[in-house]
Structures are given as C-alpha cells and as structure tokens.
C-alpha cells in the first residue's frame, strides 16, 4: 500500500470515528428529552381507565407468580441447600449435582412463568397488553434460565463444582451467583 492510499485509509477511519462520536453525542443529548417523553407517555397511559386496569392485572400476576414459587421453595429450599453444600468428589458427581440444581432452580422459574401465563389468560386485557405480558414472562424466564445455567456451569467460589474449568476471578465476573 502506498503512503498516499494509507493516509487516505486513515483519514477515512478517522472521519468515520468522528461521525460516530458526533452521532453518539447527539443521541446522548436527546436522551433526557426522550426519557421525559417515555415517562410522560407512561404516566398518561396509567392515568386512563385501561392503564390502571392493565397495571392492576400485572400486579395480580406478579403476586400469583411469587406465591406459587414461594410455596414451591418452602418444600424445595432445603433440598437445594443440601445440593449446594455437597462437595463432589469426581466430575461425574459434579455433573449430577449440577443437574439436580438445574432441576430444582429451573422448576421454580418454570412454575413462576406457568402461573403467570395461566392466570393471565383469565383476564380481559386492554388491547395489545396480553401479548406484552406473555413476552415479558418469557423474557424473564429466559433471563433466569441463563442466570441459573451460568451459575451452575461456572460455580464461582467452588472449583470442585465447576462443570467447565475457569479460574475463580473470571468465573465470578461471568457468573451472577
């Protein structure tokens, strides 16, 4: 590559970076205004009859989900603690314990989601709200499932329980628990 074309390439890179920084600055400058707009539109929709009804139904769903999962954990929590406190002596045992944790914690998350989805079918939701509720419930399930799998696979704080080798500091950074 000649000096001239190299300089041209660098100029292009710098111009691109400058354009992106300027766009970012514009976006950041607009952020407070857009946040206010979102807050205002949320407030306005909540001040309507359908908004209040939708929010109330959401609260009911949340209570039902928490109640079902709470009831489940009153029975399952000591089993989970027993599995969590066991120190596996071989990788196979670590895998078995990890699968037990997956079953116990995953069942809690599944029950929460199933309760919410089941009860949500009983309500007459404002238009578009039911689809939103289903999407949110599934999103929460996906997030919780990822959280559970990561904490089981990396097991920060206990190298014996790790299903894949990772040094403790990195495991803590990558895993939520």
């Amino acid at each position: 590559m000649s000096d001239q074309s190299m300089a041209g390439w660098w100029m292009g890179v710098l111009a691109g970076a400058k354009a992106r920084i300027e766009a970012l600055a514009v976006d950041l400058a607009q952020a407070p205004h857009e946040t206010m707009q979102i807050v205002e539109s949320t407030r306005a929709s909540l001040m309507s009859g359908t908004g209040v009804r939708g929010f109330t139904y959401l609260m009911i769903l949340l209570f039902v989900g928490i109640a079902v999962e709470w009831l489940y954990w009153t029975y399952a929590y000591s089993s989970l603690r027993a599995v969590q406190s066991a120190l596996p002596e071989s990788p196979l045992l670590a895998l078995r314990l990890g699968l037990w944790r997956l079953v116990l914690q995953g069942s809690g998350a599944l029950l929460f989601t199933a309760a919410i989805l089941g009860v949500s079918a009983a309500f007459a939701w404002p238009q578009g709200m039911h689809a939103f509720v289903i999407q949110m419930a599934l999103l929460i399930l996906a997030l919780r499932a990822s959280w559970i799998v990561l904490s089981i696979v990396l097991s920060p704080g206990c190298a014996e329980r790790q299903l894949v080798p990772a040094d403790p500091a990195r495991a803590r950074l990558r895993s939520p628990a």
Partner: protein, 225 residues
C-alpha cells in the same frame, strides 16, 4: 401493597420458626398472598364500575370533577412541604450511606480468617460476623432467619479464638437458651470476628430448614449421629 408485602414477609419470618406453624402454616401462607390478590381484583372491578358510572351519570361526574379540583388545589399547597420532607429524607439516607462507607473503608485492610470443620476457611474484613464471612467465601452455612438471631440454625461451636469474637448480647443469649445450645456455642450471625485464630465447627448441616428452629432437639440428635 408495599406495606402489606413488608408485613407479610415479617409475619412469615417470625411465624415459620414457631412450633405453631406446623398447624397454621397451611392456612396462613395462602392467606398472606390471597389478601392482596383479592384486594387488587376488587380494585379492578370497582374501577370498571366507576368508569361505567362516570359515563352514564353526568351529575356524579360533575361532583367527582369538583372534588378533583379541590384535591389538586390542596396538592399545590402541600408541594413545598413535600419537597422539604424529601430533601430531609435524602440527607438522612446520604448520612447513613456515608457512615456505612466510612465503617467499611476504615476496616478494609484489616483482614481476619476463620477456620471451619471439613478443612474449610473464610477470609474477610475484620468486624464481619462468622456467617457473613461464610457467605462471602461460599462456605455452606445454615441461616434460616437470614442472620436475625432468631432461628439458631447458624450456630457454631467455637474450637479456638473465643476471645477474638464480639461478646454475647441479650438477643443471642435468648436464642442460644431456647435452642439449648451447648457450652462454647455461638450464633454465627451475631459473633463478629475481631482478631485472628478463630476456629469453629458448624453445629447443623447447611440444609437445615425452619424445622431446626421449631424442634432444635431433633436436629441436634440427628447432627450428632
């Protein structure tokens, strides 16, 4: 809802440790959740009725509008007071956070270590309780009441370094007496580690549940076998 949830958590945490929970738990737990759910359902139904009434009865609508005007006028008068209260509250929160940060920062370089049974050990800041050190270091440790000195499931037998632990307070003494703790036993949630050389044995397994607080004798016999 927030107040109810707070009360329900407190009530549950208190009752679940009592022997009476075995008889009333099956009724009380569903009730704790049923009350807010039924209240919210009632609120939603009442809201539907109000909206229907507003649409069909102009006189009633006018009355509601007049009352809303009065309420908004009162709200405008109360706004300065609200701002003052919020400012005062924020100052108190900041003071509490600053005090906490100062305590953490002042002892952050003073490290202590606790040795456990099964060859485990935990290291952390001086002044933390044994239970806090266990949890920070992923040492399995029972703690049904989450460190409120109520359940006694976190208790440990101090093998050495008893003089390096904070003195026993009344709340700990009462719980130790209730669970008939042996000589040299402490609640890990209350015993703060102030120096080196502390070695303990966990009395109950990490999976001990609320039944260990309700019938400590049964669990103690089981743990010893």
């Amino acid at each position: 809802m927030v107040v109810w949830m707070h009360a329900a958590i407190g009530l549950y945490s208190w009752l679940v440790l009592k022997p009476v929970w075995q008889r009333i738990g099956g009724l009380v737990l569903p009730l704790l959740f049923a009350v807010p759910i039924l209240a919210l359902l009632g609120f939603a139904e009442a809201g539907k009725e109000v909206i229907a009434k507003l649409a069909t009865e102009p006189d009633w609508r006018a009355l509601i509008t007049a009352n809303l005007r009065k309420a908004s006028k009162a709200a405008a008068e109360l706004d300065p007071l609200k701002a003052q209260l919020l400012t005062g509250y924020a100052v108190l929160v900041l003071a509490a956070v600053a005090f906490l940060a100062w305590r953490i920062l002042s002892t952050r370089y003073q490290k202590v270590t606790v040795a456990y049974d099964e060859g485990l050990s935990a290291k952390g800041r001086r002044g933390l309780s044994i239970l806090e050190l266990s949890l920070l270091n992923h040492v399995p440790h029972a703690h049904v009441c989450s460190g409120r000195a109520r359940c006694g499931t976190c208790r440990v037998r101090v093998e050495s370094g008893a003089g390096q632990l904070s003195p026993i307070q009344d709340i700990e003494r009462k719980t130790l007496d209730r669970v008939r703790a042996g000589a040299g036993e402490r609640l890990a949630c209350q015993a703060q580690v102030l120096g080196a050389g502390v070695a303990v044995t966990r009395v109950l397994p990490a999976f001990a549940d609320a039944s260990a607080a309700r019938a400590p004798g049964d669990w103690k016999a089981e743990a010893s076998t």
